[in-house]
């Protein structure tokens, strides 16, 4: 009985590699190019399609669709991937698309991320580890979310934005530029002023495991840099040239410098039309060789 039910209530392609300890719920559809690791649980009505690899011990909520083709009109149907690491928790109706040829062929979620209901992860996004995305968060294409970032409900990110490590973005923020690490970024007076850094993400400092003296240095650096964003470049240069900085403060300064070196307040703008370093890091070597070979021809 169990065997018959398994095949009638699920559509699992014969070519899909589903680990025997993975659990696939009713009315799930799994395409031929899919790999699902041990202990991963798919709830009901989940669709996994495209060239999608899901690691171990993930939980995917009802109605989620992973690995569908990107919404980028430049996508021409090439070989592109969605790779999901281990221990992620995805709520219901989460959507994540595979990458595009122009953007680096890869969309990636790392380990231990939490994506609440209705989150959308577009093509060529890279989430590192332990990020938390609230319900209805919308990431446009080519967005990078660094480790431990928290994005609250209904925030929408412009394409090519970067969320720094252990930063936090308030709910409903129309985000157009990079969020520096360890900061709290918010829309302030709801659309009367552009969103900006409004303080330190204290919870992030805690999660990053910083000691009390380091926390204090980060707090002072954030206040110094963002209380008044005038002459940010100058302040950064002074700080980096001055006395030895502790690691988190140096990371903050270097992040801001890279952002200033980009366009429109987005460091990743410089990566338009190139294969970004993340894709080089996470794509399988033979795939990368093939892609780079195809580009140089």
């Amino acid at each position: 009985m169990a065997g018959a039910e398994l095949t009638v209530l699920r559509e699992i392609d014969e070519a899909a590699k589903v680990h025997p300890t993975a659990r696939v719920g009713e009315f799930c559809t799994i395409g031929p190019g899919v790999v699902i690791g041990p202990g991963t649980v798919l709830a009901r009505r989940v669709t996994v399609t495209g060239r999608t690899t899901i690691g171990a011990d993930n939980v995917i909520g009802d109605g989620s669709v992973l690995g569908a083709v990107p919404q980028d009109l430049k996508y021409g149907g090439g070989e592109t991937w969605l790779i999901i690491g281990d221990g992620n928790r995805l709520g219901p109706n989460v959507t994540a698309h595979v990458g595009t040829e122009a953007g680096g062929h890869l969309t990636r979620l790392g380990n231990g991320n939490v994506l609440a209901a209705g989150v959308h992860v577009a093509h060529d996004c890279y989430l590192d580890d332990a990020a938390r995305l609230g319900a209805g968060v919308l990431l446009a294409g080519h967005v990078r979310v660094e480790t431990g970032a928290v994005i609250e409900e209904l925030t929408g990110a412009n394409d090519f934005t970067t969320f720094g490590q252990y930063s936090r973005v308030g709910s409903r923020t129309p985000l157009r530029r990079d969020v520096p690490p360890f900061t709290f970024f918010s829309s302030r007076g709801y659309f009367t002023a552009p969103p900006a850094v409004v303080g330190v993400n204290e919870e992030g400092l805690e999660r990053a495991g910083l000691g009390e003296p380091e926390k204090d240095l980060v707090r002072r650096a954030v206040r110094h840099l963002f209380q008044d964003e005038q002459a940010l470049q100058l302040k950064l240069r002074e700080m980096l040239a001055g006395e030895a900085l502790c690691e988190p403060v140096r990371a903050l300064c270097e992040f801001c410098q890279a952002t200033l070196a980009g366009q429109f307040g987005r460091r990743r703008e410089t990566l338009r039309g190139t294969i970004p370093p993340e894709a080089k890091q996470y794509l399988p070597a033979e795939v990368l060789a093939r892609i780079e070979g195809g580009r140089s021809e």
Partner: protein, 267 residues
């Protein structure tokens, strides 16, 4: 024969053209017709008196032709989807709210990205691109070549003019003039949507004429331009697109709410 998954429920397979594909766990009601070349993925629900045109793509989890909130299925109107539309994951297109009315109409080659909503009796022209979570309310009219940013919300009966662009989170509480780029809550007209016009092959003279008209008409205020301003802009430019802009604004300004469709459909 259409390629229907053995795990799909298609109440009336004769309503499907020869090469239509239907994925597993999809449900197509008894009065649904689907034209040639359309691909319906898995877990798609199509209800009511809905017809889908040729070459459309429907992605997992979308619902097309569902009766509007609170209406019994038999009282709902039609839902007409024209050719070449892309309807992405979790999109909802409602059927019409009047059993004998014109119903919900989606024109040719629109793209509705993940999570969009099209309310009952809305009318979309052609070639629109609607970013994720765009909410098109009931009785809205979207003219051709419109683009919206994510989370754009529209009031019922709103008209969005041709070639307009709404930025992310824009709140459309009154009619959007054609050719405009609008932003904010509630929205303000920011500029001419030059990029779209160039891509659609408008010549430099027309774009310059529209820019001049926009400078004369919009000052960052929410109110529609006054009648005298419209008269002088119309008198000073012979361009047909400027005339269309002025006429659209005149019709919208004539309605107390700024929603020209609220007083009934245009002739």
């Amino acid at each position: 024969m259409p390629k229907i998954s053995s795990k799909a429920v298609v109440a009336n397979p004769s309503g499907l053209a020869e090469d239509v594909e239907v994925g597993p766990f999809s449900f197509l009601g008894p009065e649904v017709t689907v034209a040639a070349g359309t691909v319906i993925a898995n877990n798609v629900t199509i209800l009511g008196r809905t017809s889908i045109g040729a070459g459309c793509k429907l992605y997992p989890g979308c619902v097309v032709g569902s009766p509007p909130e609170g209406l019994a299925a038999e009282d709902a109107g039609v839902c007409l989807i024209d050719a070449g539309n892309v309807i992405r994951e979790h999109v909802i297109v409602e059927a019409g709210g009047d059993a004998n009315g014109a119903g919900t109409n989606v024109g040719k080659a629109n793209m509705l990205m993940v999570g969009c909503h099209v309310g009952h009796d809305a009318a979309l022209d052609s070639e629109g691109i609607f970013a994720n979570f765009t909410r098109i309310s009931h009785h809205c009219r979207i003219e051709q070549y419109v683009r919206t940013g994510g989370f754009t919300g529209m009031a019922a009966y709103a008209t969005v003019g041709a070639y307009a662009f709404t930025t992310g989170y824009a709140s459309i509480d009154r009619d959007v003039p054609p050719y405009a780029k609008v932003q904010g809550i509630p929205f303000r007209v920011r500029s001419v949507n030059v990029v779209r016009l160039q891509r659609c092959g408008f010549d430099a003279g027309t774009i310059a004429a529209l820019k001049k008209a926009f400078r004369a008409l919009f000052d960052g205020d929410a109110a529609f331009p006054a009648g005298e301003k419209l008269d002088s802009v119309q008198a000073s430019s012979g361009d047909e697109h400027v005339t269309y802009l002025v006429e659209s604004l005149r019709r919208s300004a004539a309605s107390p709410s700024g929603l020209r469709l609220q007083s009934g459909p245009e002739s």
